[in-house]
């Protein structure tokens, strides 16, 4: 039995790292955007379009990293479009976000047709498990560099928001636009840049899906990772560090269903497959009630105004 427990633990550990990366990248991007007081619901579109562009670029050039770069570029452009439209008077950022989600997915499906069949070169993993003779440990410790990029970004973002002038400007724009304007800051420009930067991260998240795990392009590739990550930001209460924990938790609970079935606990797999969502709901209910949570919401967000 302890063997079985070890297997499930390893599967969840490995799954946490493999499955969490796209959630983490999108959540970090959205945190940056929302910190300036704007919501970009279009990141699911960035993710799907990024996945397609990355796969296509990798297939055409033979270089998966060029694919990642292309996905980041596409994400930037798409989200800059969102940022620019939201600058116009009386525009609702949530509605624009939904439009961009559909636009991104539509573009990806339209241009992605010829790339469903071919097999593109994929990103390599760093093998950190060679010290162990257990193949399961080795497998779990095959980690894609983008995961570490995500971790590093979380720390940098946290530090930047807390300690730098840019961080202050972003927070002020998000908490009180009028105060920021009084300081001579162009609120629209800050939001445009933050939205575009957030979009590039969502594009990279898409590249992770199509070039690493599960590692192929098709139209059902994303099962709503881009949307779930937006929810994770609220769950992580706009803190980049908490985004890491939220994404890992989500990844691990997503691996629970298949892992339990693999050791023979196969009853009730629908329930286990729903575990991530149930967990999110419970934590949201518990955490959203606290007084502290109310203080952490950027004051300019259209959902709290």
């Amino acid at each position: 039995m302890s063997d079985a427990v070890f297997m499930v633990m390893m599967a969840m550990f490995g799954g946490a790292i493999r499955v969490s990366t796209p959630f983490l990248l999108v959540a970090l991007g959205e945190t940056l955007t929302e910190k300036t007081g704007r919501i970009n619901l279009g990141l699911e579109g960035n993710l799907v379009l990024g996945a397609m562009v990355a796969y296509a670029t990798s297939y055409s050039t033979g270089s998966p990293w060029l694919g990642v770069l292309a996905a980041a570029g596409t994400g930037t452009v798409l989200s800059a479009g969102h940022g620019w439209i939201c600058k116009l008077p009386k525009v609702n950022d949530i509605a624009v976000g939904i439009a961009f989600m559909t636009l991104g997915t539509g573009l990806a499906f339209f241009f992605g047709k010829p790339f469903i069949q071919p097999t593109a070169p994929r990103l390599d993993a760093i093998e950190l498990g060679n010290w162990s003779s257990n193949p399961q440990v080795q497998q779990a410790l095959k980690i894609n560099p983008l995961f570490f990029v995500g971790l590093a970004l979380a720390v940098v973002l946290w530090w930047m928001l807390k300690n730098t002038r840019w961080g202050l400007i972003i927070r002020m724009t998000g908490d009180n636009a009028a105060a920021a304007r009084a300081m001579g800051i162009s609120v629209d420009r800050v939001r445009l840049v933050a939205t575009a930067a957030g979009g590039s991260l969502a594009g990279i998240a898409g590249a992770f899906l199509s070039l690493y795990y599960p590692g192929s392009w098709n139209e059902s590739l994303s099962s709503g990772q881009g949307l779930m990550a937006v929810a994770l930001v609220i769950f992580a209460r706009w803190s980049p560090i908490r985004c890491v924990w939220a994404a890992l938790l989500f990844g691990a609970s997503g691996a629970l269903g298949p892992a339990l079935q693999s050791i023979g606990i196969s009853k009730g797999y629908y329930f286990f497959n729903a575990a991530p969502y149930i967990l999110t709901l419970i934590i949201m209910v518990l955490s959203a009630r606290s007084q502290k949570a109310a203080h952490e919401v950027p004051g300019e967000l259209s959902i709290v105004k």
Partner: protein, 368 residues
């Protein structure tokens, strides 16, 4: 908005139908030298899976002189499919429409068949009821489990551990039957073989399919097969981990140059050629076509590098046996809770197999 669209369509339709009736030899009774066949897919036509198996058959049909083919991809199992069918009938002049996804049938195919009695509609699942459903509708389907049995034979002899893995979408009859036949194929050559099944709960969810594949390999399986809409992710994940694979629905040989053994495929072109032939000759298009190896409706993908010489020989012999009617389910067989589910020899097309809701002894997994 929806309502006005449809009624406008209907209006157009009535005009078009009147025009067509006066100019074109519509209807089943006349021989035709030019026919149009429409196919509607729920996903993309090159998905390495279900849709591709139909699209490949349509490509064969395209070569037949006098047949023109219209296709539409990514049509949801909603009102969208009704609109697709209407536009194929009214704008492309389709004589026959092939609705390839399960959820298209009721009410969409039934409604369109009632509204357009001059057009033939065939749906890919055993749903057509001769007593209550329109006579210009019908069903066609294949017993793909026969090809999964052959997969099992080849997998049983290509595996070292005797532990086979199966990534399954949902515990419905077709999936269970494929999984059980896979096990019986493997047990016919290795009585100790087991099949471990993981249900993903969804027809297409790439990340969970990859997780399931990894979990099966971690549990010691050295051959992986599957029944999901698009097996590409499963096959590629297993190949990347150096594990052998058996395919499902379409030809996946190229995805696994080292480990591919063989795959279970439906041969829809057999059915589609029968339909086209009947339409061209002006004969009645059969309402129901079903079958397996004996009438060329299923096939196995040519062997890949993962198939050992023994496996190739045994699988080829198994195909010969199935063509001659050798039964797959030979009792007494227990399910994996210990209950006897099959007493004696059961014909491969016996109706009692249509109600299968169990996993046989030797399969690790549960349907609930």
């Amino acid at each position: 908005m929806m309502k006005t669209l449809i009624s406008r369509r209907r209006l157009l339709k009535n005009g078009a139908a009147a025009l067509a009736a006066s100019t074109m030899p519509f209807g089943a009774a006349h021989a035709a030298d030019k026919i149009t066949i429409g196919a509607i897919y729920v996903g993309t036509r090159d998905d390495f899976g279900w849709n591709q198996s139909h699209a490949a058959a349509m490509d064969i049909l395209r070569q037949v002189p006098g047949v023109s083919v219209v296709e539409e991809e990514n049509v949801a199992e909603t009102d969208a499919v009704a609109k697709s069918m209407e536009s194929m009938i009214n704008f492309d002049g389709a004589n026959l429409i092939l609705a390839t996804s399960f959820g298209y049938y009721n009410p969409f195919v039934l409604d369109i068949a009632t509204q357009y009695p001059g057009v033939q509609l065939r749906h890919c699942a055993p749903l057509w009821n001769p007593d209550t459903d329109p006579q210009n509708a019908g069903s066609y389907f294949s017993y793909l489990n026969q090809a999964h049995y052959v997969n099992g034979v080849a997998a049983g002899l290509s595996s070292i551990s005797g532990k086979l893995g199966f990534v399954a979408a949902k515990p419905v009859q077709t999936v269970l039957s494929n999984c059980n036949s896979f096990l019986l194929g493997a047990r016919s050559v290795n009585p100790n073989a087991t099949v471990q099944v993981i249900f993903t709960g969804s027809w297409s969810m790439p990340v969970r399919e990859a997780e399931a594949t990894n979990a099966l390999i971690d549990a010691g399986c050295d051959v992986i097969s599957c029944h999901v809409d698009s097996p590409k992710v499963v096959i590629e994940t297993a190949e990347a981990r150096g594990v052998k694979t058996c395919g499902h629905n379409a030809d996946q040989r190229d995805l696994a140059p080292n480990g591919f053994i063989t795959g279970a495929e439906s041969n829809w072109s057999t059915t589609y050629k029968i339909y086209a032939d009947a339409l061209m000759k002006g004969e009645t298009v059969p309402n129901l076509i079903a079958g397996g190896y004996h009438n060329d409706m299923v096939m196995n993908t040519p062997f890949g590098a993962g198939a050992t010489p023994d496996a190739r020989a045994a699988a080829t012999a198994a195909i010969k046996g199935l063509k001659g009617g050798k039964p797959i389910y030979v009792g007494p067989l227990k399910d994996n809770t210990g209950k006897i589910v099959i007493e004696g020899e059961v014909d491969n097309y016996a109706p009692e197999l249509e109600t299968m809701n169990y996993l046989l002894e030797g399969i690790i997994g549960s349907t609930t």
